[in-house]
């Protein structure tokens, strides 16, 4: 690749048209003949629920996937992007949700990588740094080019990604859920920068599911639902309710049934007292979080992705050491207990990443059914020999009770569908005497029926007096399932609400720090 000129050439931005884009993954249609256009220099929001096809559409535009049908047109000319390199060459840049940066490289090195400025065979470090500094100033994205990326905040890393695209002369900038892990002040800086960029003619396309962002920051909005375009209009002529109904499909209600049962919680099961957890880089993930979960209630942890929910739950189940503060179960301090001891004391854990944390994929279904329970007297004798008969009987009983389809003795759990794998995990974790169930993203990647099954299983646990602590990024799920809701922001629990007090708007504002509780 040739090095790019060190000055920003003002070029006209072509209009982007997506015409009849269809993408199928196997039999699953992710996008069905979506047609859209983005005028030069405009700011466009693409919104929809999880799985609506927003990211897929953006990936198709950036050449990361090739549509099965339809065209991308730039300035009226059809394009063939067989890889991101082609899209970049046509002036498209994309900042993905997961940054593609090299932590041990400096900002300037990351930005010029692959299109370096050179003097002979030498890397022109000074030249790169001064170019990046100029670019940063012009575009209003302040950054020190000589600092290592590892030392930067998420927001600064995002600025590096944007500069990377601008350095490659991107005139069309795609941002995939850009504010998902930003603090409110950082988000407003980002939006200010996008406004400046659009004034100079750069087209901005951002994916989001936050309506306030759409109303405040977009010129045009497009709504996708289940792979189809359901709404497209200038924001100035649109009311938020129109967008919301286009997202959920005409229904005004939520698509997860809320059960308004009034609960009478029992005694304290889990108590966190000023719990602090450091992450692997030594920076703080959870800051002095205090929370109580009582018998017979479900507490939901709401928050923007990366606000410390994962670390909090991992500290409860013992996968992560707490650095300060106390975790107690039924009044006993368990902060120093092993995972095994916590399990034996009645903590069940249903992780987000089934394949990494809940299942041994090459093990058979019945072997997975006793993972972590193999030492129980039901499943093994004192001599250390497994009781295969008891294991198989237990397995047969549980898969019937939890309706795990396709699970058979000797069949690797790998061959089950995601929903059935999750049911198997629930069947294992919930079928014993418990004090607390800790759950992360209980329905991620599951279809509606499987998700409803999971929700009912968790409610059943609550009704038999177990304390349930779960985390979800989906506010509808939080509102539908929780009896009480704890909101996390930058590692702190900033609010604890009852379900009656909470609604999606309030939670959204608390999660993003728009209002303090």
């Amino acid at each position: 690749m040739m090095p790019f000129p060190a000055i920003i050439v003002t070029m006209t931005t072509p209009e982007v048209v997506l015409r009849g884009i269809t993408v199928a993954f196997g039999s699953n249609i992710a996008l069905n003949a979506v047609t859209l256009s983005f005028p030069p220099g405009s700011r466009n929001a693409v919104v929809g629920e999880n799985g609506a096809g927003k990211s897929t559409l953006m990936r198709a535009l950036f050449g990361l996937i090739q549509p099965d049908a339809g065209d991308v047109l730039l300035g009226g000319k059809p394009q063939r992007f067989s890889s991101p390199a082609d899209a970049i060459a046509s002036g498209i840049g994309m900042v993905q949700q997961h940054f593609e940066l090299i932590p041990s490289f400096t900002v300037a090195e990351n930005i010029v990588l692959g299109a370096e400025m050179r003097r002979g065979i030498l890397l022109d470090k000074q030249g790169a740094e001064s170019t990046v500094r100029n670019l940063a100033e012009k575009s209003g994205l302040p950054i020190d080019p000589s600092v290592r990326v590892a030392e930067l905040s998420i927001a600064a890393q995002q600025r590096v990604e944007i500069l990377k695209a601008l350095y490659r002369n991107a005139r069309i900038l795609i941002l995939d859920e850009p504010t998902a892990s930003l603090a409110p002040s950082e988000a407003s800086e980002l939006w200010a920068a996008t406004r400046r960029l659009s004034v100079t003619g750069t087209t901005i396309i951002f994916v989001t599911h936050k309506l306030d962002e759409v109303m405040a920051e977009a010129d045009f909005v497009t709504v996708l639902r289940r792979g189809e375009k359901t709404f497209s209009s200038p924001v100035s002529q649109t009311a938020p309710e129109q967008i919301a109904s286009a997202m959920v499909g005409g229904k005004t209600g939520l698509n997860i049934p809320i059960d308004n049962k009034v609960i009478t919680p029992g005694g304290t099961r889990l108590h966190l007292e000023k719990l602090s957890v450091n992450n692997h880089r030594g920076s703080i993930s959870v800051v002095e979080a205090s929370l109580t979960v009582r018998a017979g209630e479900i507490v939901g942890l709401a928050g923007v992705d990366g606000s410390g929910q994962r670390e909090l739950i991992e500290a409860v189940v013992g996968l992560r050491r707490s650095d300060r503060g106390e975790v107690s179960l039924n009044g006993i301090d368990i902060s120093d207990w092993s995972i095994e001891a916590r399990r034996n004391a009645g903590i069940a854990y249903i992780p987000e990443d089934r394949h990494q944390r809940a299942l041994v994929l090459s093990f058979s279904c019945e072997e997975n059914m006793i993972l972590g329970r193999q030492r129980e007297t039901t499943f093994s004798r004192k001599s250390g020999i497994l009781n295969k008969t008891a294991i198989q009987a237990f397995f047969a009983d549980r898969i019937a009770a939890y309706d795990v389809r396709g699970a058979e003795i000797g069949v690797p759990v790998r061959s089950l569908s995601g929903g059935n794998q999750q049911k198997l995990v629930l069947a294992r974790e919930l079928s014993r005497d418990l004090s607390l169930v800790a759950v992360m993203q209980p329905t991620r990647g599951l279809d509606f029926a499987a998700a409803a099954f999971v929700h009912n299983a968790l409610r059943r646990e609550r009704d038999r007096g177990v304390a349930v602590l779960f985390q979800s990024l989906d506010l509808q799920e939080i509102l539908a399932l929780s009896d009480r809701i704890a909101v996390m922001l930058s590692g702190r629990i900033v609010a604890i609400l009852s379900r009656q007090e909470a609604n999606e708007t309030l939670l959204g504002q608390l999660m993003t720090g728009v209002v303090a509780s």
Binding site: L319, S338, I339, R343, R357, F363, E367, L371, G384, I385
Partner: protein
Amino acid sequence: MTGAVLKTARRSCLSLVIAFLLGGALIASLQHDIKAPFAAYNALFTGAFGSSSSWANTLRQTMPLLLTGMAVAVALSAGLFNIGAEGQMAVGGLAAAVAGYGLKDVLPGYCLLPFSCMVGALAGAVWATPPVLLRVTRGVHEVITAILFNYIAQNLTRYLAAYPLKDPAGQAPQTPEVGATLPRLWAAYDVHAGLPLALILVCLFAWALRYTVWGYETRAVGQGKGAAEAAGIAVRRVQVTAMLLSGAIAGLAGAVLILGEVPFRRFPADFYGVGYGFDGLAVALLASGSAWGVIPAALLFGGMNAGAEAMAFSVGTPKQIVQVIQGILIVAISATAGLTPIRRNFRSDSVDADGRENHKADVRID
């Protein structure tokens, strides 16, 4: 289940064919004779399975390979690669020789024999300890440390057998003769009681891996470390146990070799390098980490080792060709392994004692 076994067997056979083809090409090119590989392989096969005495020779070679192959397989089932089997075997052999000589006037023969074996196994386990402890505490990869321990074992056993522990009665640098030896199975052939012992241990291992809590937890750690950890299985303890057991079996292999009638009965200074430890790696890999697979794989390698001598003698092809074939075999099997147990054992979890990074590396591979 059977499907998976068949697939593994097919892959192992394919790899064997590749290895022998490449080995044949090498023989042909180095001996400048297109017919040389056929003559060599013919001699190799006849030397391995052609007569009852060649069978006896093959079985004699198979015995230690059953043990070293199993030693490596035990570690592999917990996700560790015990490349130090050769060193553990040498240390175990020396320890058994010392016990077998030093206590021959104290213990009666029927006690001395099992006792010497146990001392050998214990020494092997001790020698395997530092590498695995360094792995789980300091994150130094066990392959590098175990290799260094091999060289230290080589020099140390050579020194000990040649100087402080040397038989003062003889000229040769070796320890004095042990007081009790493993009995022969047939008077005419030097196949001794080590063979049934090794077979029993392999069966026991295969059974334990499937039917005990120990085996269950070991396999869970080897095949899904993250899930095993979240399920409360003490991953480090399981790995340390597996490595110690692996070292003990390798040490036992050394002990059984020394205590067998022929060729040793004494620990010679140049014992290290006898090669069964390294062959054990290839045996375990050929078995694809399956315990039962160790038996045919050991027999095959035993046959190759036995036949190699005959081949060198009758057609003059150097016996090192067998080593070449084994090296190609390891590569061929691992290259064709796909995401099978072996491959998973080798997925590069970064060895920093850092859960998050480990997690990340694992995600990339699956």
